[in-house]
């Protein structure tokens, strides 16, 4: 996850590739835009209960009204999905995919390891490996809703329109839980210095 370089004081400070930091930043910002503008769209006709259903408070919304929310959502969608795409290409070219994601070693460590740091590390890798299919699923279901005439087979994959909306929306709570767990595990395994290294 992170390489270590000795600092002047002799302690090791975590070091991240500039590409990893850039991906991390764009991912956080674009996902925040996707979620807040998405909730604005959700509020036009809540997935559960329709217009009389539960609405999200204004403070979580972006776009002012439905048209503005849609503009933001369809603008941020490019940034978010292209960012994920170049990250995919980056880990493929640099062969990072080989040791970046959770493997059977991590699963074994979770069951057998007596070393709490090793276990933490395994959980961490497991969490950020699992979030990638969730992000891809959000794009896939979103595409099905954006272009159901062209990608009718995507809607068919999920049975019907309402099921497609539910799956698309479910990526929001999953992502929020992930963000919390991911930050907490990072804090536990590398402290605030590790967290800082992912951003600056």
């Amino acid at each position: 996850m992170n390489l270590s370089a000795p600092s002047k004081t002799g302690r090791t400070i975590p070091y991240q590739a500039i590409a990893a930091k850039t991906f991390h930043w764009i991912n956080i910002v674009s996902l925040l835009l996707m979620i807040t503008s998405g909730l604005q769209i959700y509020n036009a006709n809540p997935v559960f209960g329709g217009r009389t259903g539960w609405h999200f408070p204004i403070i979580f919304l972006l776009g002012g009204w439905l048209a503005g929310g849609r503009h933001w959502h369809f603008a941020a969608m490019w940034i978010f999905s292209l960012n994920l795409l170049w990250y995919g290409i980056y880990i493929l070219i640099t062969r990072r995919w080989k040791h970046r994601f959770a493997s059977s070693k991590d699963l074994k460590a979770l069951q057998l390891s007596k070393n709490p740091k090793r276990k933490n590390y395994a959980w961490h890798r497991l969490a950020y490996t699992a979030i990638i299919p969730v992000l891809l699923l959000a794009i896939f279901t979103g595409l099905g809703m954006y272009k159901p005439a062209q990608f009718y087979w995507i809607v068919d994959c999920f049975g019907n329109w309402q099921a497609l909306r539910i799956v698309h929306l479910t990526s929001v709570p999953i992502f929020i839980v992930f963000a919390i767990v991911h930050s907490w595990l990072a804090l536990k395994s590398g402290g605030s210095r590790l967290i800082d290294s992912m951003f600056w």
Binding site: L62, G63, W65, A75, P148
Partner: protein, 235 residues
């Protein structure tokens, strides 16, 4: 155009609401709403146009999948009272043979039935059967000039819309007068409305009384578009 006055008033109302939202939410990002739209809409529209194949029909559903209560009535102002016997559909603009059609004329043309998914911009959808005349059949009767690129639809309640000609000529773009095997209910746009699986619901004007074929878009593109919704609105 007289019709613009109401949208403008409505627009001011909405601006008021959004500034209130701005103060309450304390979120200055709303100011740049239109920037996100203006910056990315041309890109989105070119991709939409690229994906859209004007000849390719969208797969239809068996009539057993119709959702009789799925279609929500979403009118913008009021439900106009139209005498179907006195009703005329005018088709004009840059055409060689402008027409004024009665319901009898329209019902005498070949009937097309389709069971499709109607998708609303609000996010809900419903599977509906529509029966009516292909818009392309009406357009071919008036012999449009080669310069025509857009179609305007005028409704009895003052609603107005414009479409690109390719979407209007799609084989599943209908002027419908039947819904779910019954005569079209007044609330759903009787005697005549647009129905199509390739456009969002707000493009599908109800109570259509006028069709105008033109070579350029006017500053007034459509009731919702003039307030900020995207114009192409393809599915």
């Amino acid at each position: 155009m007289r019709k613009i006055l109401i949208p403008r008033r409505r627009f001011l109302q909405l601006s008021g609401l959004s500034s209130m939202n701005l103060m309450l939410g304390g979120c200055a990002l709303n100011v740049v709403d239109s920037i996100a739209g203006k910056a990315f809409e041309p890109l989105n529209q070119s991709v939409e146009t690229l994906l859209f194949n004007p000849q390719k029909p969208v797969p239809e559903f068996p009539t057993s999948e119709i959702e009789p209560n799925g279609l929500i009535v979403n009118s913008f102002r009021f439900t106009p009272k139209i005498d179907p016997l006195a009703f005329r559909l005018t088709v004009d603009g840059e055409v060689n043979n402008p027409l004024s059609l009665s319901m009898e004329n329209i019902e005498g043309m070949p009937l097309t039935s389709m069971t499709i998914r109607h998708v609303c911009v609000e996010g809900w959808a419903a599977i509906v059967q529509w029966g009516g005349v292909r818009l392309r059949d009406i357009v071919s009767l008036v012999q449009p000039k080669s310069t025509v690129r857009y179609v305007y639809f005028m409704s009895a309640d003052g609603y107005y819309e414009s479409w690109d000609i390719a979407s209007a000529m799609h084989p599943q773009t209908l002027m419908a007068y039947q819904k779910n095997g019954q005569p079209l209910p007044i609330d759903n746009g009787a005697p005549l409305r647009l129905a199509s699986p390739i456009k969002l619901g707000y493009k599908l004007s109800k109570w259509v009384t006028g069709i105008r074929l033109v070579s350029d878009l006017l500053p007034a593109k459509g009731y919702w578009e003039d307030q900020g919704y995207e114009w192409f609105a393809g599915l």
